[in-house]
């Protein structure tokens, strides 16, 4: 029964592809969609994706016969499940949510459908509207393999009331030293000075920590893939982060990543937070946030570089193995279109529009009003970061808070576990990073060849 269904689905997929090839492509063709198609979409359990699930009915209404099933997973599970599926060509998912770290690697492997021509041909989609740094990060060999659902940089968020009470001010481009000094003043029994991620993981702890390392002049690798993990600037950056956590950070940092810090900020348990800019759109949602209107947002703190924000996007892509590629591409374009942003704004509220993907988002009048507190700075930061050389020295990969090699997530995770030991005081930063150097070098050696 199941097998038969598969064959039917495949047949339908082929028929649709055939129609597309014969020139019927385009958003408006409804005749081919008369056959029922079920798309399975794998995604991370982030709020913006939940909004997408809530609004999928609008797509299904416009495309009769197409049904979209959402499979939400925790980030780690999503990576495990989707990687195994895509790498083995199992073809269970028609649309996958992929991070900026994976897209170029998977694209180069030929695992994702090349969207370049389709996007360019569709005038109404206006692919040129997508932020250039994000597009760069999603392309490999001049081809675009995914479209951003939302993008983010990292910014410093602070509670203005707490700052005013303590008689402190915040500059637009703070240095880490200023932030550390302010955090120490703001650290009271009621609330911590600053929330910084400590959960051991390359995408958790090492997202903010890598940017700190970079602005301290360090990097994971030099131009020749020689690991730099126990080099003085890397050690200095990590030491600074660990010391700041100890002196004025939140309690139990090893438990904390984005969601946990967001929770603490909303309940007034911390005064500052250095994390993803996308958090601002959640903090400013008057329906769910207790601190809406009380927050200030400034550039990522720096030391030796001019900017220190990261660059990340969650993207939608269609695996090559999808049996419903045509409908899947249609859905991907719908969810990242200008119309979708209008739909979110009108039905769910303008602060919930997925940020950091399209330039035009920032000229929607309603959005400009609703997101006045954080929209300008998000756009500004995202356009000023440089994924090709985020640190002081040139690097042989494109990416800020990650290294675009398959081994990086493993290296990042293991070094993060070692740093977590240093945060807890079970080891020193230097000892942890000496061990990390060996792990990083082993991965670096594989790039040399």
């Amino acid at each position: 029964m199941l097998v038969r269904k598969r064959f039917l689905a495949m047949g339908a997929g082929l028929a649709i592809t055939g129609l597309a090839l014969s020139g019927c492509a385009g958003a408006g063709s409804t005749s081919s969609a008369a056959k029922s198609v079920t798309l399975t979409l794998a995604t991370v359990n982030n709020p913006q994706m939940k909004d997408m699930e809530q609004l999928k009915g609008s797509f299904e209404k416009d495309n009769p016969g197409v049904k979209v099933n959402f499979v939400q997973m925790e980030e780690g599970d999503l990576r495990a499940a989707v990687t195994a599926d895509v790498a083995s060509g199992a073809g269970q998912y028609d649309v996958v949510t992929v991070g900026a770290y994976e897209v170029p690697q998977w694209g180069a492997q030929g695992w994702l459908t090349d969207l370049t021509d389709n996007l360019k041909a569709d005038k109404s989609y206006d692919v040129g509207d997508i932020l250039q740094p994000v597009r760069d990060a999603l392309s490999s060999g001049g081809k675009q393999y995914a479209v951003p659902f939302y993008g983010e940089s990292s910014i410093l968020m602070y509670n203005k009331e707490m700052f005013a009470k303590a008689g402190l001010t915040m500059s637009d481009h703070p240095t880490w030293q200023e932030v550390a000094a302010a955090a120490k003043v703001l650290n009271t029994p009621e609330h911590a000075g600053i929330c910084l991620r400590g959960k051991p993981g390359w995408g958790d702890l090492f997202a903010p920590l890598t940017t700190v390392v970079q602005t301290f002049g360090g990097a994971w690798y030099d131009e020749n893939w020689k690991a730099q993990v126990n080099a003085p600037p890397f050690v200095e950056g990590v030491q600074f982060y660990v010391d700041l956590l100890k002196a004025a950070g939140e309690k139990d940092p090893v438990s904390n990543s984005f969601t946990e810090c967001l929770n603490q900020l909303q309940s007034g348990k911390v005064a500052m937070w250095y994390d993803a800019s996308v958090a601002a759109s959640i903090l400013e949602d008057p329906k769910t946030s207790a601190v809406a209107g009380k927050m200030g947002y400034v550039h990522a703190p720096v030391y030796k570089t001019k900017e220190s924000g990261w660059l990340w996007s969650w993207n939608l892509a269609v695996p090559k193995t999808s049996k419903n590629a045509d409908a899947a591409v249609k859905f991907v374009k719908w969810a990242t279109s200008k119309d979708y942003q209008q739909l979110v704004g009108k039905t769910l509220g303008w602060t919930r529009v997925p940020p950091g993907a399209r330039t035009s988002t920032y000229s929607i009048p309603e959005y400009k009003t609703a997101a006045a507190a954080f929209a300008p700075i998000t756009l500004d930061v995202m356009n000023s970061v440089n994924p090709k050389q985020p640190g002081l020295n040139p690097q042989p990969w494109v990416g800020i808070q990650y290294v675009t090699i398959p081994e990086f997530q493993d290296v990042g995770n293991q070094v993060a576990q070692l740093v977590a030991d240093a945060i807890a005081g079970r080891t020193t930063v230097k000892e942890a990073l000496d061990k990390g150097q060996v792990i990083a070098q082993a991965a670096g050696d594989k790039q040399k060849k």
Partner: protein
Amino acid sequence: MRKTRGTLITTLTWFLVALFFFPIGWMVFTSLKSEGDAASIPPKFLATLNFDQYAIVFDRGMGSYLMNSFTASIGSTLLVLLLAIPAAYALSIRPIKSVKDVLFFFISTRFLPAAASILPVFFILKALGALDNITALGLLYAAMNLPIAVWMMRSFYNEVPMEIVEAAQVDGASLRVELTRVVLPILLPGIAAVALICFIFSWNEYFLATLLTTFQARTTPPFLASFVDGRGQFLAVLSAASTLAVLPVIIAGWVAQKQLVRGLAMGAVK
């Protein structure tokens, strides 16, 4: 004097039991609060309670995940019983050589951590076209629970008085009669205990379900993670989903607890 001591021990018992039950009681309590109350500090012991969170959970389509969980758990449990009851009988009552080896083999199949075997299983299922298939998941669960079932069943058989079996054999009862008429009735509570434990393990399994199913055959545990939410508070709704997810097993456990204890003690309890 003696009575005071008794009261004291009873109080202590209840205090400790309450301590152990607290996380679950608290979860149920939280699931009935509003999100704001759920996250407040100091915790609110008096709050307006309602079932709003449960409505949200069902709205997200929890029903079909629960159905899949039932299918996989009940199916695999039945299969395990079908295989384990005769096997354990032979390993206990019937003389068979290399009992130890067979028993050890069964238990050793549990030694390979799921994380190591899951990729091979993934590739095998992919080759068979059986990914996202509830039957495949049920078979895997059966294999996962069979060793424990065989071991437990065998220890129950061991408690069956040999005289009864021998009397039946002397009477010339066939194997089938011996098994179904004589031994099984004594074993019923034991079988209930094994069935319940297999059901619990299948129902609660997370890892295989996450990687080997997507939507059609997805069970409840992987669905829970989607209630952790970066936007605002989610303790109450997460608690509601968790409560629903554990409810069937808890009810089964509560209803069958006499069988569970009796099954484990095998008939010696009156």
